[in-house]
């Protein structure tokens, strides 16, 4: 790809980008969110047309006007969001849209299954072709997507942030598959903003920043620090954390039990306490009750037993709106689904939850000027990269969307803040920003409950860590005296109470973890 330029209204997404993929390599495309990685690859896959520049495939100029053209040229793409039909089988998904050799009939099932099995075996992509897609795990669905591209004769495979949705184990499986693919003569473009995996898997790496190529290097010739600097444009500062000076409890859960959506027990006798001016981290492997805990805390799910106190007030049966008004702020784990209304403006989004209140409503009428002023203020104050309050929220990149949610939630100066996966999917710059803001809230005297599956984040930010496993708090530890491995074992349910908290005066002592009485 040579001199690729793509403009969107108000943004230069790609600015004369040169990119060369050699046969048989894994080439990482590294950059922060909004750096133009996905745009560049969408151009290569024919989803966008470049405003300038040429594409050459095997040395010959190629006009790629649609994904169909790209597939003809042997280019396959696995999107971040899978494009599968959940109620079809794996095999049906793979042949979907392809002409059959026996038109008007479909291909013989046996033959298709056999062909899929051959490709699967060659690259270690174990998937049962007769399974229905909705029954598969995320990692398996990704393999189906890869198979789909290979079945269409792809020799170049583009993977857009493939690890974002995978567990660490599934990531390793994916890396093995990718290595098998390049050994089989395929080439892979691997879009990512995670340095570790780029270092681990790629042969070469091209770094994009603000739509421009910062540089291309062989991975073995470059260090993680250098890559980080290229990507962010400056050195990362480690987060400094002054010692906590917690006051009284703002959130107290006492023996909380709750079911998940299927009616199975999800929280089992959870008791915990978050004090004003501290960050309590909830560590755990995804799916151990974190989502339900978040929902109970924010009034979106009813516990069927136990008590929930917010700043001393019993809010066990309060609605989301009542909790909001009692001073609870919430940064949801699924920010696009819960935090934003994509086809409303930033100004309108910036007052979500405050819409009936002065100064945004007076005499029963919404006041757009106040809204826009409030939003402009947030945009300035929180360094949100957006065209202005009248832009639609759906046009924001992930990091800026999160900044807007963060800005909206903490500009109310809440007493307590529930932050769930606050930096998931964010690039380095935005991650650092969000973490600083959480610490600022703690300094201000807000009680912060941080739910995160990223241990590094939990360790960096928390004053105390509660480990959740199968819906129980299995331990309460001090981040100063526990290491990642110990914590990892606790998260896997292997050990409990790795390290007692230093003794405190009785009045100040956090509620004893409730797990003791309810061992299985």
């Amino acid at each position: 790809m040579r001199g690729i330029t793509k403009r969107f209204p108000g943004v230069l997404a790609n600015d004369h980008v040169d990119f060369v993929l050699e046969a048989g390599e894994i080439h990482a495309l590294l950059g922060e969110n909004g750096a133009g990685k996905t745009t560049l690859m969408n151009i290569l896959y024919g989803l966008y047309q470049p405003d300038e520049g040429e594409i050459y495939v095997n040395g010959r100029p190629a006009a790629i006007r649609s994904p169909h053209d790209a597939i003809q040229l042997g280019i396959g793409m696995v999107h971040q969001h899978f494009q599968l039909v959940p109620t079809f089988t794996v095999a049906e998904n793979i042949v979907l849209g392809l002409p059959s050799r026996r038109e008007p009939f479909l291909e013989s099932r046996r033959q298709v299954h056999q062909q899929i099995a051959e490709v699967s075996r060659a690259y270690g992509l174990a998937v049962d072709p007769s399974c229905l897609v909705w029954q598969l795990s995320v990692g398996e669905q990704q393999r189906v997507e890869i198979l789909k591209a290979l079945y269409r004769g792809a020799t170049v495979l583009i993977l857009d942030e493939p690890t974002a949705v995978l567990t660490p184990q599934e990531c390793e499986r994916l890396f093995e598959i990718l290595l098998a693919l390049v050994q089989g003569g395929k080439s892979v473009i691997f879009i990512s903003h995670k340095l570790d995996e780029v270092m681990a898997i790629s042969h070469r790496v091209t770094v994009l920043r603000d739509g421009r190529v910062v540089g291309t290097a062989r991975t073995q010739d470059i260090t993680k620090q250098e890559l980080a600097r290229m990507m962010v444009g400056r050195e990362m500062r480690p987060i400094e954390k002054p010692p906590a000076s917690p006051a009284g409890p703002v959130i107290a859960l006492q023996d909380i039990w709750a079911h998940d959506d299927r009616g199975l027990p999800a929280l089992r006798s959870v008791s915990l306490e978050v004090r004003a001016g501290e960050i309590l981290g909830i560590a755990g492997v995804d799916g151990n009750g974190q989502a339900e805990l978040e929902e109970v805390l924010t009034g979106l799910r009813r516990p069927h037993r136990g008590r929930y106190l917010l700043a001393g007030q019993d809010v066990t049966h309060a609605s989301a709106r009542e909790l909001f008004e009692a001073g609870l702020a919430h940064i949801p784990a699924d920010r696009n689904r819960f935090g934003m209304v994509a086809d409303m403006t930033l100004a309108e989004n910036s007052i979500l939850g405050l819409e009936g209140k002065p100064p945004f409503t007076r005499f029963g009428m919404l006041r757009y000027r106040e809204m826009e002023q409030h939003c402009s203020h947030l945009i300035r104050e929180y360094d949100i990269r957006a065209p202005g309050p009248a832009a639609f929220a759906g046009t924001l990149s992930g990091g800026n969307a999160q900044k807007l949610i963060l800005a909206r939630e903490i500009s109310r100066r809440p007493k307590a803040l529930v932050a769930a996966q606050p930096t998931r999917g964010l690039d380095i710059g935005a991650t650092e920003y969000v973490r600083r803001k959480l610490l600022e809230q703690r300094e201000r005297g807000c009680g912060v409950l941080l739910i995160s599956t990223e241990l590094e984040e939990i360790l960096a930010l928390s004053d105390r860590i509660a480990v959740i496993y199968e819906g129980q708090i299995v331990g309460m530890v001090d981040p100063a005296c526990v290491d990642i491995e110990q914590l990892g074992l606790m998260m896997a349910g292997a050990i409990k109470e790795a390290c007692e908290l230093p003794p405190r005066p009785p009045a100040d002592r956090p509620t004893a973890p409730g797990s003791a009485g309810h061992e299985r």
Partner: protein, 355 residues
């Protein structure tokens, strides 16, 4: 569907004219009429003469204009309610039934209190019509809000219940004993909507016109409208922000059902002066297209409902003057609808790919 209708500015209703002129609906109408011309020519009628009679019939005389205006009133009332509902992504397909129930309750009211003075009779009628439609809309609303039943299915099926209920009423309990037709007795004189001096337009026109800015105001200028738009665009975010989603489903269905019921009342009190079996030629269904064509914008609904009404009046005249078969005039109407909707889809598709 059109819940994603794009607006020049998310919170300010666009100037009325720009709605139909933006994009290519005008071009779409021309293309549809050209295709229609081929069909008309194929049955041996001069397309030029046919369209002349159509345009003359729809716009050629004050009488034609008033007729279209009268036809547009129920379409506008209903499509305004549907605009609110569809914006909240509540798919009320039951406006036809809500219209019938409004018509029935209003008739019941007028026949029960025949001696009320007009000053009480008219507000009473409006209230009765609104209540009839609102209650009929409340049924699918409650089923959806608290049991999660799909309102498309329930509201659609309730149409038939309402239509047959009215059919039963005008054949047996409410039947006019002096007539052989399935219709109620004539309403008492005070229950007849006053007519604007010098025209044949009844005051329902004014009511419908006043509601246009009112609905726009609710949608863009009040916290209620804000919440409805949040519920429509992202119900999860609405729940997260503490908006009571079931309550808003109910509010929206009551308003849209109520407006359909008011349309039914107007057909009874303003046009037929009694309840008849086929009180509506499918206004409740046509209004769905009108609301979508108006891009879920109240001012758009105003233009679209008048456009539709003229199309129907013009087609009638085409049939009378040049003797085109009824079926064919309906084909031409349908072509116009299809082309306009297609141009809308095309425009939106293009803007998404480019943007």
């Amino acid at each position: 569907m059109s819940d994603r209708a794009t607006f020049p500015s998310a919170h300010r209703p666009s100037p009325a004219m720009s709605v139909l002129l933006k994009g290519s609906p005008v071009l779409a109408v021309i293309l549809a009429l050209l295709l229609g011309a081929l069909i008309i020519a194929a049955v041996g009628v001069s397309p030029l003469a046919a369209y002349q009679s159509m345009i003359k019939g729809a716009f050629g005389s004050p009488r034609a204009l008033t007729q279209a205006g009268l036809r547009a009133v129920p379409l506008l009332l209903i499509s305004l309610g549907l605009t609110l509902a569809f914006r909240s992504r509540i798919w009320n397909i039951g406006a036809e039934g809500q219209l019938y129930m409004g018509a029935w309750v209003a008739t019941l009211f007028a026949l029960s209190f025949p001696n009320l003075p007009p000053a009480l009779m008219l507000p009473g009628l409006l209230l009765a019509g609104f209540a009839g439609g609102a209650l009929w809309g409340l049924v699918p609303a409650l089923l959806r809000a608290y049991l999660g039943a799909n309102e498309i299915v329930t509201s659609l099926l309730l149409n038939y219940v309402a239509i047959f209920w009215v059919s039963y009423q005008v054949r047996l309990p409410m039947k006019d004993p002096t007539s052989f037709l399935p219709q109620s007795a004539v309403l008492p004189a005070p229950a007849s909507l006053p007519v604007l001096p010098g025209t044949r337009l009844h005051i329902g026109v004014i009511l419908a016109l006043l509601l246009v800015p009112l609905i726009a105001f609710i949608l863009w200028k009040t916290p209620l409208g804000y919440r409805l738009r949040v519920v429509g665009s992202n119900p999860d975010a609405a729940r997260f922000a503490g908006i009571d989603v079931p309550r808003h489903i109910i509010i929206v269905m009551v308003i849209s059902g109520g407006l359909a019921g008011a349309a039914g009342m107007i057909e009874v009190a303003g046009v037929h002066h009694r309840l008849i079996q086929d009180i509506s030629p499918g206004y409740g269904f046509t209004a769905i297209v009108v609301a979508l064509l108006g891009q879920l914008n109240p001012f758009g609904a105003l233009l679209a409902s008048y456009f539709f009404a003229s199309l129907v009046i013009g087609a009638d005249s085409m049939q009378r003057v040049v003797g085109l078969p009824v079926a064919l005039t309906e084909v031409i109407q349908a072509l116009v609808v299809l082309f306009v909707l297609a141009s809308e889809a095309f425009r939106r598709h293009r803007s998404r790919v480019v943007g």
